[in-house]
Symmetry: C2
Amino acid sequence: MTKEVFERLLNEKQYKAIKSIFDTMNPVDTAVLLPEFEDDKSLVMLFRLIPKENAAMVFTYMEPEQQQVLLETFTDRELKTIMDDMFIDDTVDIIEEMPANVVERILSAAGGKRAAINTILNYPEDSAGSIMTLEYVSLAPTMTIGDALKKIKSRGVHSETVNVCYVIEKHKLLGTVTAMDLLICDDDDLLSDVMEENPISVKTLSDKEEVAQLFNKYDVVSLPVVDNENCMVGIVTFDDAIDVIQEEAEEDFQKMAAIAPTTDKPYLKISVWELWKGRIPWLIFLMLSATFTGMIISSFEDALSKIVVLTAFIPMLMGTGGNSGSQASVTVIRGLSLGEIDVRDILRVLWKEIRVSVLCGVSLAIACFVKIIFIDGMLLKTPGVTNNVALVVALTLCLTVICAKVIGCVLPIIAKKMKLDPAVMASPFITTVVDGVSLLVYFGIAKAFLPELM
Amino acid sequence: MTKEVFERLLNEKQYKAIKSIFDTMNPVDTAVLLPEFEDDKSLVMLFRLIPKENAAMVFTYMEPEQQQVLLETFTDRELKTIMDDMFIDDTVDIIEEMPANVVERILSAAGGKRAAINTILNYPEDSAGSIMTLEYVSLAPTMTIGDALKKIKSRGVHSETVNVCYVIEKHKLLGTVTAMDLLICDDDDLLSDVMEENPISVKTLSDKEEVAQLFNKYDVVSLPVVDNENCMVGIVTFDDAIDVIQEEAEEDFQKMAAIAPTTDKPYLKISVWELWKGRIPWLIFLMLSATFTGMIISSFEDALSKIVVLTAFIPMLMGTGGNSGSQASVTVIRGLSLGEIDVRDILRVLWKEIRVSVLCGVSLAIACFVKIIFIDGMLLKTPGVTNNVALVVALTLCLTVICAKVIGCVLPIIAKKMKLDPAVMASPFITTVVDGVSLLVYFGIAKAFLPELM
């Protein structure tokens, strides 16, 4: 269904038809469609035509701007109905995006959930506690399957996942029972016999990125969150874990491309100013830091004016150095993110990168020497290309690649060790460091090997 | 439990103790532990001590090398037991990694599942069909909840997810019923009344990356796979979707760092040769393509020898150009991957990037001009720095940034349009193109504005 259809029906006041169409649509699709109506009146009107049982879901999936418009026009009763139907973790997500006066209205409409919302809001931003929900099914180990089924039936549908129920005694988490167990076992079986013991759990303050990786490792749909005494506090569900994995990957992509993370809006919705704000700080910083490469070149001006052809190889040397460094740094940064590499592995990583860099350096040096002699020298007849020059460039290339890979693999690990984000040590930063190193190596070797410069 | 504990127990032949410990461990953790035993004998011995009900799970999560060792030592009966307990999609994943003789053994032990395995193997590598499983619970619309519960109980546990059951009539997918519905509704309710109609589904040949994004969009744990006539073929489960999301992100990271994707092994397990093989092709290619930048510099040798200071700004101009280009290309590449940008949006993207690039270009040019006058000129007293030179460099910087961003945003979209992977148009490639452009702009402007060169 397209926007045009709804516009037409809205103009013709065919409200019943709109209601019927909404009834057949997935709430997520409805949430994507509504923001296309840019006048607030149509938006509010359409939202009121969404079937009651889907309204909270649609609301959850909308963009903050539209949520705010709706929140400001809802009557107290409407707000209360939506709040009653929303999951607590989703409510928290929305609260985090709203201005203070709207937050106040939400909290006063939240009724009994208010305490739970505040609990989650109080956990640090990157913790498991901040992405958990408090709505889960808890059962006692002394219950039979039959008892459990009765409890679930009476309690109703409002638990974010009943795919897994938690067996709890004196607040302590003992085990888990899946919906499958409940459907398949005999009514007389005791939960304590049926449950899976020693379930994987996370702590309230665990890093949310690590929590998300556990979903990937263990292929689970939810993970219980416990405090230091193993008392059950809440659960994290897989949809939040997927969001975290995706967000972290996008943040790493941005950092690696020298973009300051500003917003997680889709590209086409980000304003030109926001894009500029995210991009300009790194560009300025990197431009200024290139002052050093400029200084190095200036101080070897004499050498360059004596053998002008040396200048022609600067872009190639710096480019290859930068590329080699990024290869190592991106590999190590992702390894650290995914938990494949630990700070303690620094020597193993270093030893591996040294061997790889020697292999890469030597192969590149050979290829480069041959290329200079045959392409630059014989084919293009570039003036000044001699065997000595080719040797200097090839040797520099080999050493630059080795330095670049060592720098590229070590800096992210050191950053992590210093509790910084390893991704800031990505390509743009590494490239700047490697640029300087490669020029120093270049001119050093040139002075040592070229008789004209001695 | 660490490797040392098991080694000790194994030496002391305390098999019963090992069995008990395995019984308390999560199968995924067992699968991570076993490969630490590098002699095949211990590995096989330990595997036989895993409790029967967990053996298939542990096997599923092991690395291909160890799986092969085990497959080659299994008796026919052992193999059959494992195969019976494994999910079909996991079996397919393993088959894809094994040599022909092992595959043959697996298929002959697969029994009734053989046809299903072959069906999945026949779908193209990147399709939804290739990652689906054929094990799901199908129910008829005319069943009551009571009937459904009975069917599930009799059928047993071997469906990868009974969190969602599929309501099917004459092979056509009519709707879905969740485990929650089954637990909460009355036994007499008809499935056709209870089921969710119009479920989100994917086609067998849908791109698996798009399928994975649907899990993220709709927050579902499984998606039905249907053929062109809407007949139910299988399901894709969320764990496979997370894997796809993660794999695709890693592949994009590698491509953006000029690494040819060779293996998805964790970094510390990749051999030095494999790392070299993944990294050297792009390094050589990019080194050779720098011949062009070299040629440009050589052809302006006269200008450079007249005003030597111009050389000092080459790294800064190329670096900033490269960074600006990567910012645009990475943003667009990820936007395309996540489905936020479509090929049809090319003009909207271009218009947005032109505005951003003018903003960035002008701010950088101003900062650069000021920097050259005050830092390079007054502070460092670099010989040859004049107002004219500063103007030429700042102007070049502004134009280079604009060109870089335009190239960076357009090339990935063109690649996608030509059915190539947009990620190959990432930083290293863009940088090479931008390097050439920035030098041409630089020397062009220098010749036009510097009286010494006219």
